[in-house]
Symmetry: C2
Subunit: 440 residues, 2 copies
């Protein structure tokens, strides 16, 4: 039976409502060592006290590595008391951070450029990379407490200059680092097209054993208002400790300096030109929030679990003859004809509403499809699902052979260029198969 | 001195906090007839009681026509007691709705097609227009209480089929109705491209004396979940009674059936494929909310006031050689070259972040501008302002001659096609001039 160990005058200090009931029901007291089974993972650690004003829906446990994680009670399947709970009294001081770097997770930080990697050199006036290992630790010394980080400067590109070729290079590099045994990979990237690259890596890197986390900053790292430090800390904390595998984007959840949100790599979009919380999960919630101050990770959505025995598969080619066209009133269908006559093999049309374009585009689309081009429909509304069977325009488009894709336009474009480059005749079926949580 | 008239045991029932203080300070009591001067208008009416739980920031007055309007105290410049306040006791019953249609505002309702105008004909199975005057009143009998409505079926187009030609037709028709003396014009329109048309009318129709309100519905009017009735009621209430002139979009403010939001015609976007509250004001708030149940209008933003002495100016042409291109990684600059070689005169590029495209597009852009094409930059982020002087990519683009436009991409496209068609050499300066509240 688990025993009360740590706080003397309380059973489960700070817990109330639903969280309190759950702990009482399982006979779990503060300081007990437990195994918590949740949707999408399990965590072994010690039940921690909560703040007076905390919500009643999370249980916080301190992991063996010394960091806290918040678990939503709706996600908890079971709480099991562990043998050896009594030992905790004697290892109480061991709950503090350990400085033995051999026990810290090993993280590879690949820098590709962008604001997060830029720093004004006050000597020359030019902008240069700040992400050598030494400079990184100088910039954010707290990183040293979290993980053992190796830095790899891969390229120095503003993200608007990133193309298919760069996606391939980044994917190959991430694969290499994973095969070297890192516990997680962080990719520092400019924010302008970070959501395109996160989609590209999501498709290119399948069967991932560990988290791959893209991180950027909206304000350069030598400005006082920079979000670089917190974003970096959040990404490294998540890459190091979350029981998750896959490609994610780590950025401010709010414009304040409180929380970092972790977004699925195929369901995120840059929705603001300048705010720190510019990145939003679309038609879903972030999979997790990281509280950097308390070093706690609050998992919200089930994702594949971390499993270092998994072998990453990498398909890193992207087809250059793929286009994305946004439809608008009076759109000139001759642009579609132009793509056909220039050997384009794939087209994503960002249509209106539930998935429409003007009937004056039907002939051009019919000819494109007859020529063998794969043509898909997304919606410029951004939020919401397509439904092309509701109105006659949608039904006409379906009859012509335009295929609705319930995913972000940007993601549909990336997936089509990836499918065409890596799957030949199978591309058509791959496009409709869930390969990286991309479907809404 | 104003007197207490209506409620016997209260001074200003239901008012509290700031609103209460303001009324006390001006010596105004419940039932007093007042002239309220607000930013953007003035209202004559009777101070009404408020519900127990109402906020403390609005004062509600009943207008002479019997409808209530909520005025935010931050917008109130002055409250002046009117002579004749004493008369109110004797005209108390006159506060009720009057059925004398001669006193009701005259509204022209122009239908162009789309879901709001569609009704399944259960005899033939086809979709047909429902917006003859009789059918409209049958569908939404409450309209009869609000205004005297004449209906004008102009076209029957799904909005994805609306082109420049249709914009011109709608603009000309609205102008005609205004010149016939209507107190407001409501345009029923499919929602897919309603925000493009609202921008087109905003530019085409200047110096408007009355409100022009576009309204659509996300679910067809013969379905129980339809938003058509409430949207129509909101649009007609606003067109009839708001002290506002200009082009607005009237749609559900929330997915529930509570409030209608009125958006500026150049600052609104359809951001969801299917929800009732799909339309959102971007980087600003709706200018007003209409509570259809209580028939009250809550003005939030200063807009030009209603003034029937104003003469509407109509410039209804749109240039067909204008394009909108969304940039994405690996974008093919040959598409820009194609537009140049096909006589395009204007191009809006929906770039990334603060206003960027890859440097691999620079040569094509330089040639486009050298050929005389006007090239503008917007951001696919949707929210936030452009700042092209922050990074070297933006500065390079400015040097090439690409001009940032702090407005929605859709609005920038509409404005450019309008400026090129109506202003010849002046188009360049018109593009940078605020003509319809289009700048963020």
């Amino acid at each position: 039976m688990l025993e009360y160990i740590w706080y003397v005058n309380v059973e489960v200090t700070g817990y109330k409502g639903r969280a309190y009931s759950l702990l009482k029901e399982r006979g779990v007291v503060l300081g007990a060592e437990v195994l918590v089974r949740v949707n999408g993972g399990e965590y072994r650690g010690i039940i921690m006290p909560r703040y007076e004003l905390a919500d009643d829906e999370h249980i916080v446990i301190k992991l063996r590595n010394g960091y806290n994680i918040g678990l939503h009670i709706d996600n908890i399947i079971d709480i099991i008391g562990m043998e050896g709970a009594r030992d905790i009294t004697s290892t109480h001081t061991g709950l503090k951070r350990q400085d033995d770097s051999k026990e810290k997770p090993r993280i590879a930080l690949i820098s590709t450029g962008g604001t997060i990697a830029s720093r004004i050199d006050y000597r020359t006036g030019g902008v240069r990379a700040a992400l050598s290992a030494d400079e990184l630790y100088t910039m954010v010394p707290e990183l040293n407490d979290i993980a053992s980080i190796d830095t790899y400067p891969l390229m120095q590109e503003y993200s608007e200059n990133i193309t298919h070729r760069h996606w391939s290079m980044i994917a190959e590099d991430v694969k290499e680092k994973i095969e070297q045994g890192y516990d997680g990979v962080v990719v520092a990237h400019g924010t302008d097209t970070m959501h395109y690259t996160s989609a590209a890596l999501s498709f290119a890197l399948q069967n991932l054993p560990v988290p791959v986390v893209l991180v950027g900053s909206q304000r350069s790292s030598d400005r006082p208002s920079s979000d670089a430090s917190l974003n970096l800390l959040g990404s490294v904390l998540f890459a190091s400790y979350a029981d998750a595998a896959g490609v994610f984007v780590s950025m401010h959840a709010e414009s304040s300096d409180d929380r970092i949100a972790l977004h699925i790599g195929t369901k995120v979009r840059k929705n603001h030109t300048s705010s720190r919380d510019a990145f939003e999960s679309i038609d879903t919630t972030p999979i997790a929030y990281v509280d950097v101050d308390s070093k706690s990770i609050d998992m919200r959505v089930r994702v594949p679990r971390r499993d270092k025995s998994r072998r990453v598969e990498c398909r890193s080619r992207f087809d250059d003859k793929t286009a994305l066209l946004k439809f608008y009133p009076n759109f000139d269908p001759a642009i579609i004809e132009y793509l056909v006559s220039n050997g384009y093999r794939g087209l994503v049309i960002e249509g209106t509403g539930l998935g429409h374009v003007g009937s004056y585009c039907f002939d051009a689309l019919r000819r494109a499809i007859d020529s063998g081009m794969l043509v898909y429909m997304t919606s410029q509304c951004i939020w919401g699902r397509l439904r092309m069977s509701v109105y006659s325009t949608g039904r006409d488009l379906l009859n012509i052979g335009v295929v609705p894709l319930n995913m972000l336009s940007e993601v549909a474009y990336v997936k089509l260029s990836w499918a065409l480059a890596n799957f030949a005749d199978e591309a058509r079926s791959i496009m409709l198969k869930d390969t990286a949580m991309e479907f809404k």
